[in-house]
Structure formats: structure tokens, C-alpha cells
């Protein structure tokens, strides 16, 4: 076996309607907290789907499309930047496991 990149791994995950243009994010991230007071930026490394990344200027940004709804960020972030809800099945129902 060889090491898999996160992109390769996420290629094995089935999502439903995630790419729809009207899909609403189910996690709200107040990146102004990430990019000011946060000392660790932990979501950029604990998220197993790498939904939290640094941009070219070294600022944290969040994209929900690859989210596998594991919940790690809602516990890992102790700065109050991450607010969770669940994806609305009507407008992007998110991850659907084949094996689980």
C-alpha cells in the first residue's frame, strides 16, 4: 500500500447534491477569529477532509464541500470560531457512506 493524498481519499467518498449552487454551508466559520486571536489554527491540521486551509497570504479559509460531517472541528476549535448545524437534506445532503 502507498500513502494516499487527501484528494485521493476524498475521491472514495460519496456525496449527495453537494455541488449544487444553492447548497448552504452547514458549518459557519468566523475566520476573523482564526486570523486574529487564534494561537494554533488547529482546524487546518485536525480536519481529516482538509476543509480548512491557508490562502496565499497565510489566512485561514473554509470550504464545506468536502466535509464528511465527522464533527472534529466543533470540538477542536476552542476559540468559538466554528458553529455547526447539519446540512439540510433539501439543499445539499452531504456525505452518504457506502460502507460506513
Amino acid at each position: 500500500m502507498k500513502k494516499l493524498s487527501t484528494a485521493e481519499r476524498l475521491g472514495l467518498v460519496a456525496y449527495r447534491n453537494q455541488g449544487r449552487s444553492e447548497a448552504k454551508p452547514h458549518i459557519l466559520v468566523d475566520t476573523s477569529i482564526c486570523n486574529s486571536v487564534c494561537p494554533h489554527h488547529c482546524t487546518t491540521y485536525v480536519c481529516p477532509a482538509e476543509c480548512y486551509k491557508f490562502d496565499e497570504d497565510g489566512r485561514v479559509f473554509f470550504q464545506f464541500e468536502d466535509c464528511i460531517e465527522c464533527g472534529t472541528c466543533m470540538y477542536a476549535c476552542d476559540q468559538g470560531a466554528v458553529t455547526w448545524s447539519y446540512p439540510d437534506p433539501e439543499s445539499g445532503r452531504g456525505v452518504t457512506w457506502n460502507f460506513g
Partner: protein, 440 residues
């Protein structure tokens, strides 16, 4: 819908489905709501379902083609360092007689199968047309009147019931909404489970793991596999795939600045694991938060006026070193929640005092008995000695004792003494051993 249900269950996982089966048998009219496309579609586990409760929900489940993957005949606990694996290994035909003591499951398949069993149970129940399983519905709000829970809201629709069972899983947003748990739950006692399902030719898999028929193996790992992060690894055999992964402390990952997925890559490349996975093909990557079994993270209470919390939503889980028990806890707590609802219905009383029966039943069951009894073991497992020093020491001892040199051989006692000295002190090992002997 104007009519009121006896019970609404939020969540089509093991806790919710188990509660529903018992409610259907008890003649209750209920609505089970699941946000995923089907029961199981959002659910992840390691996963071994331990214990005998499945036989109670689905009698003679072992005669069916579907449902579980394999039953556990062979158990192995492995301590690892960078090169080595030192295992405690137990295999016995004692495990061959149903009902099995543990079955490996893949939740998307297993929960879906259990939901089909629920539909059969509803069809045979006294009110086959008045109980429903509804998928693709997100419960946004728990409806309360004068402080008591009276129903749920999904979009513009409100459904009412005498009791709501929250079986929403570990990320229990609704339990938090009604104030039974804080809005923010810190990472201290929460873990991330991360795994891959690796497909393998069935014959290859059975030959490699010496499996016969539907017999299977569970292997847990502690030590180098978690790269110094609290937690450990697992490998379970499915019919034609392996479930391989890690359970890692979220706070520890944060503090050590490590990626769980990078640690999983390293784990798969460990020579001992690589030998097991050879020629397999990754077919799914998944992750989910799981609680550690530390009771400090549990909701303030697991019942209130008109509501009960079951399964991982109540952080009901234990790992005291011998097995990670989450799904059997979900199953039993779902069953006990349903029994509480049926008794409350007979009394016509759904107040908190009446529903306190659920708390008492859990306290009298193996769930809370074991959780109380093994809290020190849970904490011991999260002691850095457990996932760093001890596995290295034991592997080093193994390397020394099993290496035959063409030179005079030391007595075992001397080898042990020298190994201990190289890794820790006698005093700290004795202290740790004393703690371990009392807690495990």
C-alpha cells in the same frame, strides 16, 4: 399531521432503530426521523458490535445472509514500536456458537439491514399503519411548551409526541439545544475515529487471517501506531474487506499539531500492518468523532420532561482496554429508553419524574455499572505511559528475549531489568503497574 405520536425518535442509528423495534413490539405508535438518505447513510464505526442484545432485537440474526460481516473468533491486542509488534492473541472455537459475543459491522449496510428488520416488526405490530420511518428529514428544533418537550420541527412541519428520544449521535446538537449539554463541548475527552475500508479478495483475506466460514478477527493496537498521540489503532476483518483505522484524542492532536490522516498513512505503512494490507484496495475513507468513555463529558442528565437521550448522544461508550463498546451501549440504551416510554405510557405520565426510570435502568445495567467501575481504566488508557513508554518497553523486551545470538544468553529476569532501565525507572513502572492492576 394533527395526530400525536406516542414517541418520536430522532436518528436512525443503532440506538434509534433499537428503540423503535422495542416500541413497535410494545404496540406504541411512533415516528423515527433520519436526516440521511437511508438509515446508516451518515453513520460510521470501527466497528465491532459486542454483546448479545442483537439476538434480542433480531432473533437468529446469524441465520441471515445480510447484516453483520463476520463474527469474532480471534482477538488480538498488539503493542507496537517502530519495527515490532508484541501481541496478546486469543482464538477459540468457544466463540463459534451463536448468539455471537461480537460481530464486525459496516454501518451503512448494517443499519440499513436493521431498518429493514424494523419495518418487518412494524408490519407485525398492533398499529402497522400508525408508525413511520422517515428519511431525508432534518430535525431543526425540539419543540417545547412550558419547559417540557412536546415534539420536533423539521422545516415548516411540526410533529408532536408524548416523548422524544434523541438518538442523534455524538455530535448532539439537539441535546445541546435543549440545554442538557453545553453548546461547546471541549476536545478534552473527545476522539476522532478515522479509517479506511480496504477491499481484498475473499479467499486471500481468509487465508491471510486464517479465517474459516464467517469467523473473523479483531485486532487493536497501541503504541507507535498513534505517533505519541493518545489513542490507538484497530483492524477488523469484514467478509471481503478490512476496516483499518485509528482513534485519536482531538485535544492531543491539537496540541501536538498533527494530522490524523497523516498518522493513518503512517500506520498503514508500518511493516506489521503493511503485511496485512498487501494487495488490498482502498474503497472508502471515513472519519467520525467518538467519545472516550470519560463520564465527565456526558450530558448533565439523560432525561427531562418529555425527552430521553440514548446512545452516543448521551456519550454512552466505554473503552477500558478490552474492547471499544459503543454500539452495544447504543443498542441497550435504545432498548431501555423504549421500555421507559412504554411504562410511562401505561402510567400516562411523561414527566421527568416518570422518565427517571430510564436513568435507574441504565444505572442497574452493565452500561453505567461498567462506566462507573472503569473510569480509572479509561483515564489510565489516556495516560501517556500507556501509548508511549509501555509499548516501546515491551517490544524492546520482545526483541531482546526472542533474539538468539551465538553468545551466552542472559536469564530472563536480567533482560527484563535491563530493558526497564533503558525505558523508564523501576519506581515509575511500579507506580504505573499498581494503578493498572487496580483499574483494569
Amino acid at each position: 399531521m394533527d395526530e400525536k405520536f406516542d414517541c418520536i425518535i430522532v436518528g436512525g442509528g443503532i440506538a434509534g432503530l433499537s428503540a423503535a423495534v422495542e416500541l413497535a413490539r410494545g404496540g406504541a405508535r411512533f415516528l423515527l426521523v433520519e436526516r440521511g438518505e437511508f438509515a446508516g447513510s451518515k453513520n460510521v464505526s470501527g466497528g465491532v458490535l459486542w454483546g448479545h442484545d442483537l439476538a434480542r432485537l433480531v432473533p437468529e440474526y446469524w441465520t441471515e445472509e445480510d447484516g453483520f460481516e463476520r463474527y469474532i473468533r480471534h482477538r488480538r491486542l498488539t503493542l507496537m514500536d517502530e519495527q515490532s509488534a508484541f501481541s496478546i492473541d486469543f482464538k477459540s472455537t468457544h466463540f463459534d456458537t451463536p448468539p455471537y459475543a461480537g460481530v464486525v459491522v459496516l454501518r451503512s449496510r448494517f443499519d440499513r439491514w436493521l431498518a429493514a428488520k424494523l419495518e418487518e416488526t412494524i408490519a407485525r405490530s398492533p398499529h402497522p399503519d400508525e408508525s413511520f420511518v422517515a428519511t431525508n428529514i432534518l430535525v431543526e428544533e425540539i419543540v417545547r411548551e412550558n419547559g417540557r418537550v412536546t415534539g420536533i420541527r423539521a422545516g415548516d412541519e411540526v410533529f408532536h409526541a408524548d416523548v422524544v428520544i434523541l438518538a442523534e449521535g455524538v455530535n448532539n446538537l439537539l441535546t445541546r439545544q435543549i440545554g442538557l449539554q453545553d453548546d461547546y463541548v471541549p476536545a478534552d475527552h473527545m476522539m476522532i475515529g478515522i479509517k479506511e475500508v480496504i477491499r481484498m479478495n475473499r479467499r486471500t483475506l481468509e487465508d491471510r487471517f486464517q479465517l474459516n466460514g464467517l469467523a473473523g478477527m479483531s485486532n487493536e493496537f497501541v503504541g507507535f501506531c498513534s505517533r505519541g498521540v493518545e489513542g490507538g489503532g484497530f483492524l477488523y476483518t469484514n467478509r471481503d474487506s478490512l476496516s483499518v483505522g485509528l482513534v485519536l484524542g482531538i485535544k492531543d492532536l491539537r496540541e501536538k499539531r498533527l494530522q490524523p490522516h497523516a498518522i493513518l498513512n503512517d500506520f498503514k505503512l508500518h511493516p506489521v500492518i503493511a503485511d496485512m494490507l498487501r494487495d488490498g484496495e482502498e474503497v472508502e475513507y471515513s472519519a467520525h468523532v467518538v467519545s472516550s468513555g470519560d463520564m465527565r463529558v456526558m450530558p448533565r442528565e439523560i432525561y427531562a420532561d418529555g425527552v430521553l437521550i440514548a446512545g452516543e448522544a448521551a456519550n454512552l461508550l466505554i473503552n477500558a482496554g478490552k474492547a471499544i463498546q459503543g454500539m452495544d451501549y447504543a443498542m441497550r440504551s435504545g432498548i431501555l429508553a423504549a421500555e421507559t416510554v412504554l411504562a410511562a405510557r401505561d402510567r400516562g405520565d411523561f414527566s421527568a419524574e416518570s422518565l427517571a426510570q430510564y436513568r435507574r435502568a441504565l444505572e442497574e445495567s452493565f452500561l453505567l455499572k461498567d462506566m462507573h467501575n472503569f473510569q480509572d481504566a479509561v483515564r489510565l488508557l489516556h495516560d501517556p505511559n500507556m501509548y508511549t513508554t509501555i509499548p516501546s518497553l515491551i517490544c524492546d523486551f520482545g526483541r531482546r528475549i526472542f533474539t538468539v545470538r551465538s553468545a551466552p544468553t542472559q536469564k530472563t529476569k536480567q533482560v527484563l531489568k535491563e530493558t526497564i532501565k533503558d525505558h523508564t525507572s523501576f519506581w515509575s513502572l511500579a507506580k504505573f503497574g499498581y494503578k493498572a492492576s487496580r483499574s483494569l
